[in-house]
Amino acid sequence: MEQNPRPRSVLEVCGEEIIRIVTPVSICMVLVVILVSILNGDSSSNLSSITTMATIAYTESSSDSIWDKLKGALLNSLVFVVVVTLVTFLLVLLFYLRCTKFLKYYMGFSSFLVLGFMGGEIAIFLVKDFNIPVDCITFAILLFNFTVVGVTAVFMLKMAIFVTQAYLVVIGVLVAYWFTLLPEWTTWMLLVAMSLYDLAAVLLPGGPLRLLVELAMSRDEDIPALVYEARPVIIDIHNNNNNVDSTTPNAQRRVWRRRGDLDENEGIIIRHDDSSELAAPLIQHIDIPPMNGNVEEDSNPVLEGIGLGSSGAIKLGLGDFIFYSVLVGRAAMYDYMTVYACYLAIIAGLGITLILLAFYRKALPALPVSVMLGVLFYLLTRLLLEVFVVQCSVTLLMF
């Protein structure tokens, strides 16, 4: 009988969990930066003439004064946050009345819209940009396949994990790209407003997201929402296996196990009509099992591992992905220097939030720390750092 070569330390296991959540966030951000560079690269001052919910109060034009732009952006984001609050309360009500089926269908429908229409439009933009000689029949078949499999991945519980995760990231990328089409001041004000809303909605006792989480906890069921769940790290607690990650049916224990399914919401912005179901995201709470092998109440003592539905892993709402990527995408519309600064700020914020999560052990808002740090770093880089670096480089002094 062989012993384990060495037991995996807590640092390795926790590090792997963190990497499994930071990687898709980074991939989402990189894809949005690439899209923005390719498609929006020509016009840095982006005047979009569309009337969406986020620009309903004020349409920005480059000839306004700063004070006007500020006021207009504030108004826009206020309207947006109010709409989001209302829709989230509606979601809580529906969840309370146990209309879970309706919510699931709505989720599937909105991902169909995002993947089919927005994905199709962005693909058409790319085809036009690169003059790819694809014909419409092939394109239609590919788009149809892509959309249907995406909707299945969102709907069905047991799809390949990689496919589900990939589709969630793609949905995040598409919605984030749409947000970068908004005017500049509105975007930044919206980010700040959404992070404040997130803070309030999760931590205040009357906040809609807190209500939702508590409802889900008390009923011990899933919130039907678009949530990215990282693959859980499995450690083997028996010694008769030299492969630490091997999945023998006898003795496995998930490293993170949760008390119940505390999911968070995410909704998709539908452009032309009213319903915006974007509830700001939370980070999932995880239960660290005691090291002496006691089991929690909702898992078998010996996990047979036959496709367990509830796994204990870090969950991050899709809204987090979207707003992080919007921040970085907006930074990309100015210069790549701001992209690097904002990326580092967001990852640092995410790390801080995960530490807070491990410390407080309850559902936490993931937006505030990262977005505030990101906005701060963007302003500092754009106003102060860039001047310094450019002057130094031009005079061949440094860099």
Partner: protein, 156 residues
């Protein structure tokens, strides 16, 4: 341990050891079939997700549903089917495999390859042939013209 177990001679251990040596060869032969425990565990789970995926019982219905849905002009579903049950495709002769499940998987793989071949040959012919081959129809079928004609990019 190996040499003893392969020769379970009862004359070597006549008395109480007979029982123990008679047990040994069975474990020896299974060890020969699966020399490392990891190989046995690899086909333990039918899906690529391992213990997070489906069990053997649910896999059959799942694979059948994906196989049938793929006929609705959805070869990507066949591809996902093959990807999901990749361990079963790789190790066809394990004692866990279900022959019916395997027929669905092989059917999905064949269907996906066929469809990809047809679609890519059509797409390549269209792209490379261009106007010389198709004439006027090319202009009408190519995507960017169709998008301009019907204003498909005006929604964003």
């Amino acid at each position: 341990m190996d040499s003893d177990s392969r020769n379970p001679t009862s004359d070597r251990h006549p008395s109480h050891g007979g029982a123990s040596t008679s047990i040994l060869p069975i474990t020896a032969t299974t060890d020969d079939v699966a020399p490392s425990s990891s190989r046995l565990s690899r086909v333990e789970w039918p899906t690529i997700d391992g213990p997070l995926g489906l069990s053997h019982e649910d896999s059959l219905a799942y694979a059948r549903r994906f196989f049938k849905l793929g006929f609705l002009c959805l070869p990507f579903l066949w591809a996902v089917n093959c990807f999901y049950f990749w361990p079963l495709l790789r190790h066809p002769h394990s004692h866990h495999s279900n022959p019916r499940l395997r027929t669905y998987l092989v059917g999905s793989a064949i269907g996906f390859t066929l469809f990809t071949a047809i679609l890519s040959s059509w797409a390549l012919t269209f792209a490379i042939g261009g106007e010389r081959m198709f004439g006027h129809v090319w202009e009408e079928l190519v995507l960017y013209n169709v998008a301009d004609k019907y204003g498909l990019t005006g929604w964003i």
